[in-house]
C-alpha cells in the first residue's frame, strides 16, 4: 500500500479522575487494533504540549472527556475543519490552558494539522480516585469502533 498521511491519536485526561480517564482508556483499547503506522499517545496536564505532539502530522484524532452534559456517555464527534470546539464542552480541565484554548491558538497561528477530529464523551463524575462511570466506560467501545472505522479514510483517503 502506498504511504499514507501521518495520523496521530491522542487520548487526553487523567485516569485517576473518574470519567476524565476516557481518553487514555480509548487509546489503550486501540493499541494492537490499529496499524503500526498510526501513532497513539495519552496526555494529561499541559494541553499546550499538543501543538508539539501534532507538529508534522497530517491528521489528528483527539479523545477527551466533556464536562457534565445531559447524557453521561453520549459521544460527540466534532470535525474541527467544519466547526469550532465549544469551550463549554471542554472545561473539565482545571488547568490554565485547556484543549479548546490550545486548538484555538493553533488555529490562529496556523499550527493545526490539515484534519482534526475530536471525540468528546460526556462525563458525569470527575472525583479524584473515582472509577469510570458505567455509561462512560460503555462509550469507550463505541469510540474505539468509530475511530477504527474512519482510520482508513484519515490515512489513505479511502471511502
Amino acid at each position: 500500500m502506498r504511504p499514507g498521511r501521518k495520523v496521530l491519536i491522542v487520548g487526553i485526561g487523567n485516569p485517576d479522575r473518574g470519567d476524565d480517564g476516557i481518553g487514555p482508556l480509548v487509546v489503550r483499547q486501540l493499541a494492537g487494533r490499529v496499524p503500526p503506522s498510526i501513532r497513539l499517545i495519552a496526555r494529561t496536564g499541559d494541553a499546550l504540549a499538543l501543538i508539539e505532539d501534532w507538529a508534522g502530522r497530517d491528521a489528528v484524532v483527539l479523545v477527551d472527556a466533556a464536562a457534565p452534559g445531559t447524557t453521561p456517555g453520549r459521544v460527540h464527534r466534532i470535525d474541527l475543519l467544519e466547526e469550532e470546539l465549544p469551550t463549554d464542552l471542554s472545561r473539565a480541565s482545571t488547568h490554565a490552558f485547556g484543549v479548546a484554548d490550545t486548538v484555538g491558538l493553533a488555529r490562529t497561528l496556523d499550527l493545526l494539522p490539515a484534519s482534526v477530529i475530536v471525540y468528546a464523551v460526556e462525563g458525569v463524575n470527575f472525583e479524584p480516585g473515582a472509577a469510570l462511570s458505567p455509561e462512560v466506560a460503555a462509550a469507550a467501545e463505541e469510540v474505539v469502533s468509530r475511530i477504527a472505522a474512519e482510520l482508513c479514510h484519515l490515512e489513505h483517503d479511502c471511502a
Binding site: 499541559d46 499546550l48 501543538i51 482545571t94 490554565a96 484554548d101 491558538l105 490562529t108 497561528l109
Partner: protein, 429 residues
C-alpha cells in the same frame, strides 16, 4: 449607601480554583479575602509511613507545572536528614533540571497567561492574532524547557528520573550537545521576549514588600543558599520554623504563612531578583536595565519583566552547565537510612518552597511538612488587592474586577499547590 455585590464565577488564567471577596467602606477597601476553597489534599499525611526514597515522586504530584521544585526540595531535605551532601556534576545537573522548569513555567505564565492583561486581550488566542510572533516564540521557548525535562527528567510532566542522592540515569555528552543547540535558540528567543514585555504599559504602583529568597555566595539561587530577607533575615533552612509560621484563616483551605515578627512577606521572581541582582551575569544585568528594571523591583505588575529576565538567565545557566559537564562516577550517591530530621529550601518558579521531614531509623517518614510559595504569598496578594482596588474604586465594577484579577495574576499563583476557579464578590456598604 446601598450595599452591592458583584460575583465572578471563574477567574481565568490562573492554575486552580479560588474566589475573592472585597469589602468596601467609605471609599476604601477594608478587607480583601483570597478564598481558596479547594479541598485539602493531605499530601503531608499520606507521606507518613512511606519510605524516604518515595518523597520526590509523591510530592512531585502536588503540581503539574512545578514538579521539579517539589522533587528538589524533597531530595535536599532527605539528604540533609541522612547527613549526605551531593556535590559535583550531580549538583550541577539538578540546577540544569531546575533551569528547564523555570523556562517552561515562566514562559507559560508570562506570555500565554499574563501578557494579555497588558495588551488588552481576553486571552492568548485573541492576542495571537496580532502578536503571533511573540506567541510562536513562547511556544518554541517552552519546548526548549520541555526538552530539558524530557532528557534529564525522563519525561516533561512529573519527571521520573530524580532520586534522593542524584538521578537514576545521567544522559550522555552527545544527548546534552543536542539539547544545547535547542537552548542556544531558546536564549535568543528569551531575549526577544524580554524586549517585547519591556514595552508594555505598566501601572505606577509599588509596595514596600519584605522580600524573602535564598541567597548563595556565588550563584543566582536554585537549590541552595541561606534564607534571607530585605529586612535583615539571614538564616539556614533548618531555622525556618523559628522565623515563619503557618496560620489557619477561615476563608481559605490553604494555610497562610507569615514571618512571626513582622507578618506578610513576598517570595518569587521579584524577591529573588531584588535580593540577588548582583548574582546575575553582567549581560543579564545589562538586559534588565535596558528593559527598565533597577537592581530592585517593587512594582508587582513588572514581575512579568523579571520572569522573562529569569528565563534568559535559566537558558544561559543551562548552557554553562552543559558546556562544563563532566559525567559523574555514578548517577547517584549511596545512601543508608538513619533516624533524623532534614530541611530543604529551593526556589520554585513561584518562590521559595520549604520541606521538612522526620524519618525513622528504617527510613520511613514519620512527619512531613511542605510550605509552597503560594501559601507564603497569600497575605501579600490580599494586601496588594486592598491597595490596588482602593485606587481603582472609581472604576465601574467590571473594570474593578479586571484590575483585581490582574493583581492576582501578577503572582502566577498556583492555587492547586496551595491547597482551584476564582470567584469575586465586591461588597460595597
Amino acid at each position: 449607601m446601598a450595599s452591592k455585590t458583584i460575583r465572578v464565577d471563574y477567574i481565568a488564567r490562573v492554575e486552580g480554583e479560588g474566589a475573592l471577596d472585597l469589602h468596601v467602606r467609605d471609599g476604601r477597601v477594608t478587607r480583601a479575602h483570597l478564598k481558596i476553597f479547594e479541598p485539602p489534599r493531605l499530601f503531608e499525611a499520606l507521606l507518613r509511613g512511606r519510605d524516604f526514597a518515595e518523597a520526590p515522586d509523591i510530592t512531585a504530584r502536588i503540581c503539574g507545572i512545578c514538579p521539579v521544585a517539589y522533587q528538589m526540595s524533597s531530595v535536599h531535605a532527605m539528604e540533609n536528614a541522612l547527613g549526605v551532601e551531593v556535590g559535583g556534576p550531580l549538583r550541577a545537573l539538578r540546577r540544569l533540571l531546575y533551569c528547564g522548569e523555570w523556562i517552561e513555567s515562566h514562559t507559560l505564565h508570562a506570555v500565554m497567561l499574563h501578557a494579555p492583561d497588558f495588551l488588552g486581550y481576553p486571552d492568548a488566542i485573541q492576542m495571537a492574532r496580532e502578536h503571533g510572533d511573540a506567541v510562536r516564540r513562547a511556544l518554541a521557548l517552552k519546548k526548549a524547557g520541555n526538552e530539558v525535562l524530557r532528557l534529564l527528567g525522563g519525561r516533561e510532566i512529573h519527571p521520573v528520573n530524580v532520586r534522593v542522592g542524584g538521578f537514576y540515569r545521567v544522559p550522555s555528552r552527545r544527548e546534552f550537545a543536542r539539547l544545547a543547540e535547542e537552548l542556544k535558540r531558546g536564549r535568543d528567543l528569551a531575549v526577544a521576549t524580554v524586549q517585547w514585555v519591556a514595552k508594555f504599559p505598566f501601572p505606577d504602583f509599588e509596595r514596600d514588600y519584605e522580600f524573602v529568597a535564598l541567597r548563595h555566595p556565588d550563584e543566582y539561587p536554585f537549590n541552595e543558599g541561606r534564607v534571607v530577607s530585605s529586612r535583615g533575615l539571614d538564616i539556614a533552612a533548618k531555622d525556618y520554623d523559628s522565623e515563619f509560621e503557618e496560620r489557619h484563616v477561615a476563608h481559605s483551605t490553604a494555610l497562610q504563612s507569615v514571618l512571626k515578627r513582622r507578618g506578610s512577606y513576598l517570595v518569587g521572581p521579584m524577591a529573588r531578583y531584588s535580593l540577588n541582582f548582583d548574582r546575575l551575569p553582567a549581560d543579564v544585568q545589562a538586559l534588565a536595565r535596558e528593559a527598565g528594571l533597577g537592581a530592585t523591583c517593587r512594582n508587582p505588575f513588572r514581575s512579568i519583566v523579571v520572569r522573562t529576565i529569569e528565563v534568559v538567565y535559566a537558558c544561559e545557566e543551562a548552557l554553562r552547565i552543559i558546556a562544563s559537564f563532566e559525567p559523574p562516577e555514578a548517577a547517584a550517591v549511596a545512601l543508608e537510612p538513619r533516624a533524623g530530621v532534614g530541611h530543604g529550601c529551593t526556589e520554585a518558579p513561584r518562590g521559595m518552597l520549604y520541606h521538612r521531614y522526620e524519618i525513622a531509623a528504617d527510613g520511613s517518614i514519620r512527619n512531613a511538612r511542605i510550605v509552597p510559595p503560594t501559601s507564603q504569598n497569600q497575605l501579600s496578594i490580599e494586601e496588594d488587592l486592598c491597595e490596588a482596588a482602593t485606587l481603582a474604586l472609581d472604576l465601574p465594577d467590571d473594570a474593578l474586577r479586571d484590575r483585581c484579577e490582574e493583581v492576582i495574576r501578577n503572582y502566577d499563583p498556583c492555587i492547586s499547590c496551595a491547597a482551584h476557579f476564582l470567584k469575586l464578590a465586591v461588597h460595597r456598604t
